[in-house]
């Protein structure tokens, strides 16, 4: 999963991020700062499971605060249950 995949899924699930200029590197910008709340991330996790086969439980998702942390966890566990 790439940052482009994650951004696309976030937009599909919960709309565009707040106040982000095109071209900004989002890896280390907190989801909270981008305006994505816990429901937006739960929805994103469900889509991630569909597309990448990684099952992220709600309590694991709750601890992933940035796109970088989210991507690392997903990519480490492709094809597995976390």
């Amino acid at each position: 999963m790439t940052i482009e995949d994650l951004t696309r899924i976030l937009v599909e699930c919960a709309g565009a991020a707040d106040g982000v200029e095109a071209g900004t590197d989002l890896h280390d910008v907190a989801f909270e700062e981008l305006g994505y709340d816990s429901l937006a991330l739960m929805e994103t996790a469900a889509r991630t499971k569909d597309e990448f086969g990684v099952d992220l439980p709600d309590d694991v998702v709750a601890e992933l605060h940035t796109p970088r942390a989210y991507l690392e966890t997903v990519n480490k566990n492709i094809g597995e249950t976390v």
Binding site: V11, E12, C13, A14, G15, A16, D18, G35, L39, M42, E43, A46, K49, D50
Partner: protein, 400 residues
């Protein structure tokens, strides 16, 4: 009781989006009823509806779209317009602003889509936003979040009567000390599941010509046309500095009653609601200049409403109108749109007609405004609404 003023109005109706376009359409007789286009209605007995033609993405942030049903999108747009219209009244502490809306059907279309996913793709495919997108309090909640209003808030459900109940309760909320309350009602249920729910009333017109469908109080009345949309109003305590100058008018009285069970010898409760609302306003029937009728559009219910009007006002004792014949019955949105229309009547000194209705049975004994708008001084209007299963509500609006 504290005097409560209406200082902002947002209308999203099938025949006009925004207060001025809606009011112009109402006076000119431009309707909003046409073939229902949201899905293939070929096999359904009724195919006309009042649809709102608006692109929510032009009015709301993209963040709100994946989490909202069409009904909530329309409610948020109407609330934005009402608050903009209230001109400065909203610069207040968050706990001094509340939200009281009515809803009759919840997020039908959203829920239909998510249930389809549940059946075909499994539970993990269902949107987390279904958790709140479906339910009756969602419009109150989303308006509260969007505008930072943390004061006393609630949601009321009473089918078509609920919108007036919300306005009545909002007025009570102001009287209890919250100086500004956003209120009204907005509904939409035009997915196949929602449509079947409308049809289950057995009172939806099967006419195919929009000019012949939904003819309230007409000898040829054969049912109503469901519509979507509604109105959101801003209510403020009249003691607020400058509020009187910004106000369209006052919500002066409110009452609701419930019908006796079918087969009971007791009369239906509509006349009692009207009388109680007038008593609440400290007014008498002769003070009322115009009645915005519930206008069910079926002969039995039209006859019952005509009888209630004769009981309260006497034979042809008051001007009666039902401009909703242009846009259909909007469930919880119906009463608030009528209240907005009544306030425009007060402002402009004109009563819009009941378009399309031409032949009122003499036995009804009502002075129904037909054909052209009637220019007359309007200081006080009574708005009536009935909800399926026995709800009756009445609101009295007066000049500020």
């Amino acid at each position: 009781m504290t005097r409560t003023l209406v200082t902002g109005i947002g209308v999203v109706a099938p025949n006009g989006q925004g207060l001025d376009p809606y009011w112009e359409a109402t006076l000119e007789g431009r309707g909003g009823i046409g073939p229902l286009t949201r899905f293939d209605t070929t096999d359904y007995p009724a195919r006309l509806a009042g649809q709102v033609d608006i692109d929510p993405a032009e009015h709301l942030p993209s963040r709100l779209l994946p989490q909202t049903d069409v009904s909530t999108r329309l409610a948020l747009i109407a609330a934005d317009w009402a608050l903009a219209d209230a001109k400065g009244g909203t610069e207040r502490v968050d706990y001094d602003m509340g939200v009281v809306t009515a809803n009759a059907s919840g997020g039908f279309e959203f829920t239909h889509r998510e249930f389809k996913k549940l059946w075909t793709q499994g539970s993990s495919a269902v949107s987390v936003y279904e958790s709140f997108a479906w339910f009756y309090a969602v419009n109150t909640g989303q308006i509260s979040i969007r505008h930072g209003m943390r004061g006393p808030s609630s949601a009321l459900v009473a089918e078509q009567a609920g919108g007036l109940d919300a306005i009545g309760h909002a007025r009570r909320t102001v009287a209890r000390g919250t100086p500004l309350v956003v209120t009204g009602g907005v509904d939409s249920a035009f997915d196949p599941w929602g449509w079947v729910s409308h049809l289950s009333s057995g009172r939806v017109s099967t006419a195919t010509d929009p000019d012949r469908a939904y003819l309230p109080f007409d000898a040829h009345a054969d049912g109503y046309v469901p519509g979507e949309g509604g109105a959101i109003l801003v209510l403020e305590d009249a003691a607020t500095e400058g509020a009187v100058d910004r106000a369209y008018g006052a919500v002066a009285g409110y009452a609701s009653t419930f019908d006796p069970p079918p087969g009971s010898p007791r009369p239906p409760g509509l006349a009692r609601a009207a009388e109680a609302a007038l008593a609440d306003a400290g007014l008498a029937p002769q003070d009322v200049d115009v009645v915005f009728a519930d206008a069910a559009g079926t002969p039995d219910q039209d006859r019952a409403e005509a009888q209630a009007l004769r009981e309260v006002f006497g034979e042809r004792g008051v001007a009666v109108t039902a401009p909703k014949s242009l846009h259909g019955r909007l469930l919880s949105g119906g009463g608030p749109v009528d209240v907005a229309t009544a306030l425009m009547s007060i402002r402009d000194g004109v009563v819009p007609p009941t378009h399309k209705t031409s032949e009122v049975p003499a036995e009804y004994g009502i002075d129904l405004v037909r054909g052209a708008a009637r220019e007359q001084r309007v200081e006080c209007a009574l708005v009536l609404a009935r909800g399926r299963w026995g709800f009756n509500s009445a609101v009295v609006v007066t000049s500020a």
